[in-house]
Structure formats: C-alpha cells, structure tokens
Symmetry: C2
Subunit: 364 residues, 2 copies
C-alpha cells in the first residue's frame, strides 16, 4: 500500500488514469494525446477530442515530478551558486546575473530552481552529493569564482547538461563568460594614450579565471603600449597600502588599475590609502577599475568621480547562459559552446592626463 498523499482535505487531483476512465480509453492513450506526440496526433479525432475534453473537465495538470522521473524533461533549469548564495554583501554582483537568468528563463517558459548551496545532510556547496541534486532539473547553470572540479566531472560523465557562468579552464566545459582580457587591455591602452607610462596593477591573491584573465589583459595592453611591465603587478590581501602607495608615487607612478572582485578587498584597500594620503583623483592620481557589474559602479575617493574602467555584462551573461543551456538540453547547441561576451568600456571620471610636474608635487 501507500502514503496518505491524497490530501487531508479535498478531492485528489486528477491523473491520467482518471481521464482515461472518463474518456473510455487507456491511460497510455491519454499520455499520447496530452503530450501531443506524433503518435498522439495520429489518433482518431474523436478519441483525441474526448481525451482533451475530459482533461479540461477534470482540470488535469501533469505532475512534473512523475514526468521527470519517466525520463522526459520537466521545464526546470537549475542555478547553483558556489559563492555564498545571495549574501547581502555580494548581492550587487550576484543579482544582475540572477535577473538575466530569470528574464530569459521566463521568456523561454522555464522554471528555475535555486540550489541553496548548503542544503540537506552533507553541507558544503562543493559537496558532491549537494551538487548532484541539480539533476532534478533538465539542466543546470553554475556560478561562482571557485568551483569544485570533482562533482562537475561526474556530471559531465553522466552527460548532464550544464553551463558555467564565467570562463572555465577545464576543456569541453560549456560556459558564458566575459572577455576580461580584451577589456582590461583596452583600459590600459586608454591610460597609456592619456599619457600614463608608469602604472601599477593591483589585484588580490585569488586565482579565479576572472582574475587571471584581467591580469593577462593588463599585461597585454601594457606591452602593446610599450610599457615596462616588470613591477606592474602588485598583489594585496586587502591590508594597508599606504607604504606601497607612497613608494609608487616616488617611483613616478601616475595611475593605478585595480580589479573588482566579489570581496572588493583590493579596491577598498586602495581607496582607503588614497583617501589617507589626501590624494585627489584624477588630479593627483588616475584610477581605473576592472569590471563592475553594470549599474553598480561606485565612485572614487578624493573627488567622488565614477570609476573609469569597464562594466561586466552580468545580466546578458545570465540570459545567454540560459539560451546555451537550453540548446544543450535539446541536443543541438549553436557552435560556440564556450562564449565570451564583450565588456562595455566606461569612460568615468578617474582618468586624466598625468600632471607633468613629476612625482610628489602635491602635498603629502
């Protein structure tokens, strides 16, 4: 026997067998008709019609769970986040992606399952069991700077359709990322064109693809402009940068480029140091920010201008990832299954020609 599923309160909701009884056909025939398969369409008009009528009459709605178990699709797409899901602090970087995903999912008639990282028994977001849950959905989107490889490999082996939001190194893994390399190179080129020949690139220690790509772009742009890149890259853990800033200025550095991450540590540290040094931006020092989500760009210290740099098309990435995932699910992906979207350059107000007066002209 079985469960008390048939609700404490009202009538049981109708299933195919109820329709079959009402229409005087077999349950299988009901399935055929309702799914609108070729076989179903080939049935006698009268059979079809009576099935359809009975279904309408009874208010039938297919059970998505049973549908899915019986190997069909269920019109649900998963979204699994490896960063802390939704936390208020990273809301700004996460939300635009969610909006994009939601928009496109809605447009495509797909529901969305937000896998909340923790969940059930074994907890951590990178727990293999946790990741495997995503299989309830027809396919899944993954997002986060750091992603556990094991569970994902397993999914690949199983042939489960998924797409990363963000570039990945693992070969064969489909993704929709941002072209940080080109965008970062362009920013450095812009600085060089404005007359900056001594600059620093400030980044965090984190080795996520998004960070690696920005650095590569910065170096590429610097070389293209003929700049000396030997001491250009500086890593910070977010601590006090006052000493650094002072020595850079003494070395004639006129511009600092900084990466934006979900922690924002590097940017915050730089901002604080600039503030404390009493420097004005861009008068005393030009600043460029590599990649804020569209619309969330902050303003620089010592001047309050909007950061120059580029925007990351988060929303569009979300939308495109949904499209790609759907293509994968249907088995016919449009050729590039690894896509990089262009970033929008932002003029901002933190880049100006360097004051030709040399280092340390203004007050300490």
């Amino acid at each position: 026997m079985n469960h008390a599923k048939p609700s404490p309160v009202g009538r049981r909701r109708p299933r195919q067998s109820d329709i079959a009884r009402a229409a005087g056909v077999s349950q299988a025939t009901v399935s055929l008709v309702l799914r609108g398969t070729p076989e179903g369409m080939a049935l006698a008009k009268s059979t079809r019609q009576s099935v359809l009528n009975a279904a309408e009459e009874l208010g039938y709605v297919p059970d998505p769970v049973a549908t899915r178990l019986a190997a069909a699709t269920n019109g649900m797409l998963g979204l699994y986040t490896f960063s802390t899901t939704f936390p208020t602090e990273v809301a700004h970087s996460y939300y635009p992606i969610l909006v994009g995903v939601e928009e496109e999912a809605t447009a495509q008639g797909q529901d969305l399952i937000l896998f909340t990282g923790s969940a059930r028994a074994a907890s951590r977001a990178d727990d293999p069991a946790a990741v495997r849950r995503v299989r309830v959905a027809d396919g899944c989107l993954f997002f986060g700077r750091h992603v556990p490889e094991g569970p994902i490999r397993r999914l690949t082996e199983d042939g489960f359709p998924f797409v990363y939001i963000g570039r990945r190194d693992e070969p064969g893994v489909p993704y929709v990322g941002a072209d940080y390399v080109s965008a970062s190179a362009e920013v450095v080129g812009r600085l060089a064109a404005a007359g900056h020949h001594h600059l620093r690139y400030l980044r965090e220690h984190d080795q996520a693809p998004a960070s690696v790509d920005r650095e590569e772009g910065v170096l590429r742009g610097a070389r293209a402009a003929g700049l000396d890149t030997s001491a250009m890259v500086v890593r910070t853990d977010g601590h006090d940068l006052d000493a650094h800033l002072r020595s850079w200025r003494e070395e004639g550095v006129t511009a600092v480029v900084v990466e934006q991450t979900d922690t924002g540590a590097a940017l915050a540290a730089l901002g604080a140091a600039v503030e404390r040094a009493g420097l004005r931006c861009p008068d005393d020092l030009s600043l460029a920010l590599l990649g804020a989500p569209t619309g969330t760009r902050g303003t620089a210290p010592g001047g309050g201008a909007v950061y120059s740099g580029f925007d990351v098309p988060m929303r569009e990435m979300g939308r495109d990832a949904v499209r790609l995932l759907l293509e994968l699910i249907s088995g016919a992906p449009e050729p590039p299954t690894r896509r990089l979207l262009p970033c929008e350059p932002v003029a901002g107000g933190t880049i100006a020609a360097p004051t030709a007066t040399g280092p340390n002209t203004r007050k300490a």
Copy 2:
C-alpha cells in the same frame, strides 16, 4: 522497455539496488538505512554498516525526483510571483523578499524553485495549470498584490501547504504580511503631533490589501488625532496633480501622505507636481511616504530629503514566510498562521512643523 536516461557518456549513477547488491541486502533495506528512519536504525549494526559503506563506496546520492514521487518530501520550496516576476522596474520591491526567502531557505537546508509565472503551454500567471505546477515542491510561497483566487482555492482543497507573503482576506489562508494599518496610523499621528491638521492622503485606485490597509491606518490615525477625514482620501491614476495640489494649498493643507506601490504612480505624480509648483519640502509642505522596502527609500523633491514614513520589513517577511511554510509542511504550525510584522518608522526629513503663516505664503 525504457529511455536512454543512462547517459550517453559515462557510467550510470548508482541507485539503491546497486547498493543492495553490493551489501547483500534488499533494496528496501537500503532505503530504510539511508533514510535513517526508526526502522532503519533498528536494523542490525552490521547490516547498517555494510549498507552505509557500500553507499559511500559507490557515491550514492538519492534521486530527488524519485524520492518525491514516492511521497516523501524533497526539500524544495516554491516561490510563485503574481506580479511580473523580477522585472527591472519592480526589482527594488521584489528583491528584498527574495533575499529573505533565500537566506532562510539556505539556513533550513531547502532549495528554492522560482516559478516564472508564464512558463509552458497556457501562460498567464493566474492560469490554474501554471499555478498547479507548484506542487513539485513540498510547499509554496506566493507573492504579489493581486492573486487569482480560483487556483489557490484548489490548492487549499488539495491540502497543499502554502503561505502568502502579504496579508490576504480569504479566511484560513496563511500569510506573513506587514502591519500597514498601525504603521500608517503612526505616521499620521506623527504629522498631527507636528502640528498638521489639514492633510491629504494620496493613493492609487488599486484595491490590493496592502493599499486597503494603508488607507484604513491613515483614517484611524486621523480620527485618533481628532482630524477631519471627510476629504482626506484622494485617489489618483498617476496623472497631473497640479490642480489638486493648488487647491489643497488654498484649503490650508500642510501635509500630504502618499502610498508606495510597485508602480510608484502616486508618488511620482505627487513628486512631479510639487516640483513644478516650486514648493520646498518640508518647508512649504510636509510629505510622508507609506512603506518603502528597507533601504530603497528615495528622496523627496524640493529639498532632496529622505522621505519620512515607514519601512516595510520585506526581508524579514521573506524569512518568516519560509519558517511558517516549513511549519505547515511538517504539520505543526506555531499558532498564528496569519502574521503581521511591524514596520519600522522612518524619521526622514520631509516632516516639519507647518509654517504658521497660513496657505500660500510662499511663492507660487
């Protein structure tokens, strides 16, 4: 026969029968052990252990779809929005709720299914079939100013657990709403205490509970303060309010209270009229806003001060709704299943004592 589910690529993922074979027990026993039921715990230690080992060995993860179909729960909560889902314009009012829901769901180890309103075949968000989809989840949260009653009644009849985010009139329907009545009354009381005796309440035509409650609160507060309420309530469809504003001023009105809705039509219209009239706020006119989501409060025209009024605890509503839903699912809800959360008064800068000089003292 059946489907090609066993992945095009790799090995089939293990199921209970695989574990059973490896451990030399029946599949049912595996289920008992893995679910950790009383019966399962009562099994011989050695049996338990070998099952557990085999499961670990094979990397077993239960199939949530099958689990759900076989009548257990699946650890998924639905969120169904009747307003346009997520559209950028209402993002501000919707997002805090989503954040709250997400936070609590994560804390409780539940995944979230975002039903995208439209979806599949028949489209509109209030389509019965669309609403019925929510049954994949263990329970569902509903949100939106306007909610179709039919589909919901059906859900009730079926004994499906759900909770509204926002107060509802339908008897017996569980909800977590905001106490707009008290909060609105308090705002009017505050105005009266500041010396305002002639005021107007501007609202839209929309008859959602949230609007009805605000009006009730305003009238209650006004009566408590001994104010004349006969001409107090004014409805607007968002069009030109210049003439209204002029006549109010001539009648000696010194303060206007306005409701915040997801369209923001009334507020926008009032703001524009105040702007055009060249009035300063709160110098020439006090303004109060009834209910913006925490943190999204805008600034008033003619002065740029933050609106006085109250904040709606969207995030907390989301959290509490998840808790209530979980209680409902487990069958043991804590007594009030219809809850109203207090709103936070916001002092803001748009309420001041009326200038004792009477109407139209300042420039047109």
